[in-house]
Symmetry: C2
Subunit: 357 residues, 2 copies
């Protein structure tokens, strides 16, 4: 089995994608595949498509200097994400036909309909690309349809970074729990909310804690997505859709954010040896699934009560193995970027073993 070379089209080139291109360099000696970037599309910093290969580190430096990627393009053009995908599919048609072209969707979550990310994923699959998305939108809003499309075109749709960064949740169930049914889950999935609640417990104020998460690149660009529970609701919908066979959107998750929690609530809970955490949960209810995100006052014995600061966890309820927890003790950009590498490894393994053709 020789090391396959993957051709990559990056849709979105924010902090996660830029950390990814650097991490790819840093870990190249450990990976059983090589990569060539053939396109990068951004909303505000232009785009570049070049089948001969784009220097990822140089592209990151260009964007970080506030310049346009157009300067790296041999024949620059104004392009939307869809345009960039079409152009890459055209110029790397050979790789696409061989199952070696991969679109990486990392644009910002849009919480009304998950667009344009859903359309990006569709376009990529229709262009015979595999898709790795760290954007929650496609999985939270359209997983069933997109997974069916991926099956028809015989390409992989992977998304480990959507929940708990690179810590495996979806791959855990897919690769290590054959024949197990997931019947529900409970988790702390939004890092920013958990950090803010921890800060309130320490007597700090809400706003500075939130700003710190933004400065570290952890809070969403629009922090209301974190504070109002939308980020956790999107992750909940993704887990329900993938692990429990649901077909819901974040709008069907009953949702309460942490905005209404006052320092006094935190103190009252602490006085009773309890902690408030933003809990995401789902359970089967007849034919459907009841999903919710809301602050819960937890007994100290609850495993979710132990999660401080940037720790996340999800406890899956299963039929054969009881409750299994997976815990992420720290979350940062490297871990989200790693999720993309884990997904690319799965594609490379599929190519090397002939599962992907």
């Amino acid at each position: 089995m020789s090391a396959p070379e993957l051709a990559l089209v990056l849709i979105g080139f924010g902090r996660v994608a830029r950390r990814f291109v650097r991490l790819l360099d840093e870990t190249s000696d450990r990976l059983a595949f090589a990569c060539r970037i053939v396109g990068i599309s951004t909303r505000r910093h232009g785009s570049v498509v070049d089948a001969a290969g784009v220097d990822g580190r140089r592209a990151a430096a260009v964007v970080e200097a506030g310049q346009s990627l157009d300067r790296l393009d041999p024949a620059p053009l104004p392009r939307s994400g869809l345009d960039a995908l079409r152009s890459a599919a055209d110029r790397a048609a050979g790789e696409a036909a061989q199952g070696r072209l991969v679109a990486i969707e990392s644009t910002v979550l849009e919480i009304e309909r998950g667009e344009p990310a859903v359309s990006h994923v569709k376009e990529a699959l229709e262009g015979s690309m595999h898709v790795v998305t760290v954007n929650k939108g496609p999985i939270a809003f359209a997983y069933r349809e997109l997974a069916a499309l991926a099956g028809r075109v015989e390409r992989m749709l992977l998304f480990e970074g959507v929940v708990m960064d690179g810590v495996p949740v979806f791959n855990l169930v897919r690769h290590t729990l054959p024949a197990v049914h997931v019947t529900g889950f409970r988790g702390v999935l939004n890092t920013t909310s958990n950090y803010v609640l921890s800060a309130l417990e320490r007597g700090q104020a809400f706003e500075p804690a939130l700003r710190e998460m933004q400065a570290r690149g952890i809070a969403e660009a629009d922090p209301s997505l974190d504070v109002d529970g939308w980020d956790a609701a999107a992750k909940t919908a993704a887990l329900v859709n993938v692990l429990m066979g649901g077909a819901i959107t974040p709008h069907q998750v009953q949702r309460t954010g942490i905005g209404g929690i006052a320092a006094a609530d935190i103190r009252d809970a602490a006085a009773r040896d309890r902690r408030i955490r933003l809990v995401a949960s789902a359970r089967r209810q007849g034919e459907s699934v009841a999903a919710r995100v809301e602050p819960e006052v937890l007994d100290r014995r609850d495993p979710l009560a132990a999660l401080d600061d940037t720790e996340n966890a999800v406890y899956l309820r299963t039929d054969l193995l009881g409750e299994i927890g997976i815990v992420q003790r720290s979350g940062d950009l490297t871990q989200t970027a790693y999720a993309v590498i884990a997904d690319l490894s799965a594609i490379a393994r599929g190519l090397a073993t002939g599962v992907v053709r």
Copy 2:
């Protein structure tokens, strides 16, 4: 890809193996493979080898009625485990050549040298069988040698049940964490010790708590393996050998059991808002690995302090993802039996995709 049929030789037919044959029936409609038992070997209840197939449920009933398996054998013979493996290799040579013959080692852990389980695994691999072991011995005492042998004969050596029953630890790292290096770990791995410590906290006595674990089939037949830390040391050696590239045995794990812990120690810890847990850990120390099992007085904030009764967990330290925890919230026979099914699924997947020939 059609569903492969696996032929199974069971070496050891205690509670775990008997629960396994029943679980195989209960889950057959979910599995992408079929199984035929061609041999069962026990220390005290005779043996049966029959290439035409042995009825697993009937065999379990025979043993549970205190009778000998010889009565199920068309031509009964006194046989050791090695004899049964040789006989099965001979009579199911076609399956062995096709990579469809699997030995399942579930004899009792022997803590001096891991024998005869190590020899069973060697014999099975040399007979072109895949091996699934839930006995810790082979992995704790001879992983490197056995893995090399498995590579040479192109057969799989799998052992998910060795640590935390069917909750994935080895498969988690193998299948979902490509390119990640495990640099150390901390865990609570022995259910019986943890249950006894929890009982002491509730004011119960040591001996009745231990007897309860034996009655539930969780404590080892020889409870000193649990109480003296040997079971945890064997699991620690297995984790070091597989995840950290070590080549140690349980005798190289610095080991203190829970036998010396008095009710007063537990009360003292509780008075300082602390808990005592039997902690297994390892970390790199220059070229080697320092591994230990010992009771530790833990701060309440330590994630291991949250583990009650039959809960287990291991927190892996990694280079790219920080610390990742995997938590088992309840452990029973079904979960250990499930580990065998998960490993068989991996073999069947290998066959279906042509990775195993």
